[in-house]
């Protein structure tokens, strides 16, 4: 037999004016077979597909990059790791080792941080619901407590009275920066005077001491001017409350929200062109803060600590999801579709990002517009509505990135169970950081009443 040509699936790609989109058709065919120098395919074989892979190296680099960008510009900087962005223990502890505190928004997250060994004095406790027991524990352990509403303020005052000690508290503020949608449901509103009312109450209380101001203006905020305005407004409010209530503000916490290098749906330009660097955010924030606190030095008042709660911009590009093609079809409109073993059950962020998708192996074939579906029997389960990809064969592996933010916390055990997460350690070794779930994970907490133990108690052969 003569030499046969390798087979790849037949493809017919229409030429459209301007290509698929601004980049799709023109983009060179990329593939990625390694992460931090470690071959991915053997990991997929060992731990099963789909598989989340975290890069310890990238995580540390990102944390250091953020710290460097700010601490070279402002004397006192603190980072609180936003647990809800990704609270896998291994990820939290990498960031704690880099000096980050824990930023938690529920009793569960608070307890998770404590269980990991984080002292209460390095926990920032945010969120609209902190049960009384959690409030008391946080006060006793010296956490930075950010009050969200008046009921909470009064609850904390009562606890402090019962404990017989004055406790430091922070106030969560909300206000209009002019550049972002105001998140007015969290914290005390500044424009309406509610924030000042709360500060006055605290100032007059013998049990409470206002030491910090907090706000979080949104997430994936691309406009650095929003942060400049936020910093200015908070610094001005600091001056006002100090003057009016005699308190001393030790820190200004500007929350999270820096954009990660991910492609937000609806944005025309790729992330590299629209996402500000940490330096650009830092420059805008510190310039505004410096300007607004100019008078303090003259009065002998210390500058506040600048607290950041950056989540997605630290972890997003430190994690990838590897998935396999489990089926393919041609849609009635001619487009190719591939069915993957990972869908929106694992990739919650597919609802708002167009993730980068590339094959693990190089492929010679022509790229074609492709729809990527997940494995759920649900119409909403689309990983990418349109992406240019080379020919895909059954079993081919695809690498989806960045996926580090909000997926390992918002993933669902729905129809499928959740897969393993492994970490590529700095030294190139591999550590499982979350085991793949099994049927038992699903059924263990269930109890089937005695009377319901048998699914077919009276077997009737004719039915």
């Amino acid at each position: 037999m003569n030499q046969r040509t390798p087979w790849s699936k037949p493809i017919l790609t229409p030429h459209r004016p301007g290509g698929m989109n601004k980049f799709g058709a023109l983009r060179p065919q990329l593939h990625q077979s390694e992460l931090d120098g470690v071959a991915i395919m053997p990991l997929l074989e060992q731990y099963g597909s789909p598989l989340f892979i975290v890069s310890e190296k990238r995580l540390r680099e990102n944390a250091r990059h953020l710290r460097r960008a700010f601490s070279t510009r402002w004397p006192k900087v603190r980072h609180g790791w936003s647990y809800k962005t990704n609270y896998l223990g291994a990820i939290c502890n990498v960031l704690h080792q880099e000096g980050s505190w824990a930023e938690v928004v529920s009793e569960l997250e608070y307890r998770k941080a404590r269980a990991l060994g984080v002292p209460g004095s390095r926990i920032i406790f945010n969120g609209p619901w902190k049960p009384a027991a959690a409030l008391e524990q946080a006060l006793l352990e010296g956490a930075a407590l950010h009050l969200d509403h008046l009921d909470e303020l009064f609850a904390v005052e009562q606890i402090a009275r019962r404990l017989g000690k004055q406790v430091p508290v922070g106030l969560r503020l909300n206000f209009d920066t002019g550049h972002t949608e105001p998140w007015s449901r969290f914290g005390f509103n500044l424009e309406s005077g509610a924030a000042m009312d709360a500060a006055r109450h605290i100032g007059a209380s013998q049990w409470l001491q206002l030491t910090g101001l907090h706000s979080h203006i949104g997430t994936f905020v691309l406009d650095v001017r929003a942060y400049a305005q936020q910093a200015r407004i908070m610094a001005e409010f600091m001056e006002t409350v100090e003057r009016e209530t005699g308190c001393r503000i030790e820190y200004l916490d500007i929350g999270g929200g820096f954009a990660s290098h991910n492609a937000l749906q609806g944005l025309y330009l790729p992330p590299d062109q629209v996402v500000p660097s940490f330096e650009q955010y830092a420059e805008a924030i510190v310039a505004a803060l410096t300007d607004a606190t100019r008078g303090r030095a003259a009065l002998g008042k210390p500058l506040p600590v600048l607290v950041l709660e950056t989540g997605r911009a630290i972890v997003d590009d430190a994690e990838v999801l590897v998935t396999r093609v489990v089926g393919g079809k041609r849609l009635p409109d001619g487009r190719r579709a591939a069915i993957l073993d990972a869908g929106v059950n694992l990739l919650f962020t597919a609802y708002w990002y167009n993730h980068d998708v590339r094959p693990l192996q190089p492929s010679e074939g022509l790229a074609e517009e492709t729809v990527l579906y997940g494995p759920l029997c649900m119409n909403i389960d689309t990983v990418r509505a349109s992406v240019m990809l080379p020919p895909l064969n059954l079993g081919d592996a695809l690498l989806i990135s960045p996926v580090g933010a909000y997926n390992n916390t918002q993933w669902m055990q729905f129809i499928q169970s959740r897969p393993a997460v492994v970490m590529v350690m700095q030294d190139g070794s591999i550590e499982p950081v979350r085991l793949a779930e099994t049927l038992q994970t699903l059924t263990d907490p269930e109890r089937v009443p005695e009377a319901l133990r048998a699914p077919f108690p009276n077997p009737s052969p004719s039915r």
Binding site: R4, W7, P10, I11, G365
Partner: protein
């Protein structure tokens, strides 16, 4: 494979050769449809199938000749031809 041959030949509606005859094909994989004015890129296996369909070759023989020319088994080739023929049928009416 043998007992499939009968079924193959009959069950598939192939694109009409006359609808494919009008297409201008170049060896580099460029396809031009003078009726719609649209142009396309086709890969090597697609071109091989397209040329055979233009000649009115039936499915059994297309699959057999693809297996000779390409590193593909008959079942995989048949699956891909079925899907591709459908795409051609709907693209070039």
């Amino acid at each position: 494979m043998d007992n499939n041959q009968d079924r193959q030949g009959k069950s598939l509606e192939l694109p009409k050769p006359e609808n494919l005859m009008r297409l201008a094909l170049s060896d580099s994989g460029f396809v031009f449809d003078p009726v719609s004015g649209n142009s396309f890129s086709v890969n090597g296996s697609g071109m091989a199938i397209l040329r055979r369909l233009q000649q009115g070759t039936d499915l059994t023989r297309i699959v057999a000749s693809l297996c000779e020319e390409f590193e593909v088994d008959a079942l995989a080739a048949e699956r891909d031809v079925i899907e591709f023929a459908n795409l051609l049928r709907n693209t070039f009416r």
